[in-house]
Amino acid sequence: MLYIHHTTCISPQPRLVGGEEASALAGGEGRGTAAGPVNGVYKVVEPGYPGIPPNTLRRMSKAVRLGVGAAMPLIRQERIDGILIGTGNGGMEESVKFLRQIVDYSEGMLAPGNFVQGIPNAIASQIGLSGHLRGYNSTYIHRGLGFEHALIDASMLISEHPGTHYLVGGVDEVSGYHYRIELADGWYKTTVTPGLSLYDYDSPGSIAGEGAALFLVSGESADAVAAIKGIETFHSTDQHIVATRLRAFLARHLPAGSQPGQQLSGSPALYLSGENGDNRALPFYSACAAVLDPAVPVVRYKHLCGEYPTASAFAVWLALQLAPPQPLPQHILFYNNHKLTQHSFILLERFR
């Protein structure tokens, strides 16, 4: 079992930052104040990064900045034996700059900064450098399943090495070039009204987003706020397969009668759906909702953070910000679909 002890998040929603991370991320001059989409993109409201030396900060790509900025409050908390970061695109903006250099200067003398900052594992490595953490350091670029695979690896590491602690998270940035490619490919809507109306569109595409959500995890239950009870990832284009796999997932991790008197047998108390306003993905989400008892409340969150490959990390963080329900513990199910083919289930048990 993977126990979550602390979390931080840099998201497009400044009002959602609370508790210990609010004070830890405060200070310095922030890089944005707008909550909500700007030109059709949900951009994060960046803090001032008071813990990062200015000379280091100026070189960082946005993704690296978000990852290190979110990590700083956590790496001060306690011993960390490894860093595991999921990212779909890493520092895509810097990668594109580097590719452009190759073309513009005919593969001649190239500035190294764009390359160093653009590679996906720059996020985890810069966190390691910033915190002097020389242990396990790994990056998962499984498109829309990077965060889930970071969690799976952390779970396996903890099984092999009980007593170890890991920093796990999902980090992605919106880059202008990549956004235009994805827009042209039909993954984003050309016009979007902010808020819950995202789910009212009957059209393809979602809204672009970005963010960094990090978690301090271990195999120790003491002082944990939640535990990851199950994770499953798979590829499919068939909504019936998705529903069948969800039934099996719940039977395996939340067997009927496991929570007598607290919630419906075999059903979570809450379902966080990754629905994103893309009508092509809706059948998958509907198929999952049909598996659950109709009384299970459904919470959607992509109108808060936008769509990006590691948005499920934001969902897990968000679930831990919700007011503590009664009675506790409470099981929360997450289902996310990335680009119609990648699926993930996460089952979380919240203790407080």
Partner: protein, 87 residues
């Protein structure tokens, strides 16, 4: 190009290449050391400056000892550019 103009242009290029977003050309004195206590640049920045000289002025610095003499401050860079530029 006048030396004063070249200095201003070079300062703007240094800011752009090194992403010194909170610095303006006026903040960089002609004789302010680029590295260490001065502008606070480091070895990675020196690579970026060598790329800058190559791209913008057609100057190739191959000898590290030569680089250490050139990348001292804006004055030394402008002197070297004036003598060796190919574009």
């Amino acid at each position: 190009m006048e030396t004063a103009q070249l200095k201003e242009r070079l300062k703007a290029q240094i800011i752009e290449f090194l992403n010194l977003s909170s610095t303006t050309p006026a903040d960089i004195a002609d004789d302010q050391p680029l590295f260490g206590e001065g502008l606070g640049l480091d070895s990675i920045d020196s690579l970026e400056l060598i790329v800058l000289l190559n791209r913008e002025y057609g100057i190739v610095i191959k000898d590290p000892k030569e680089g250490r003499k050139v990348l001292v401050d804006v004055n030394t860079m402008v002197d070297y550019i004036t003598q060796h530029r190919t574009k």
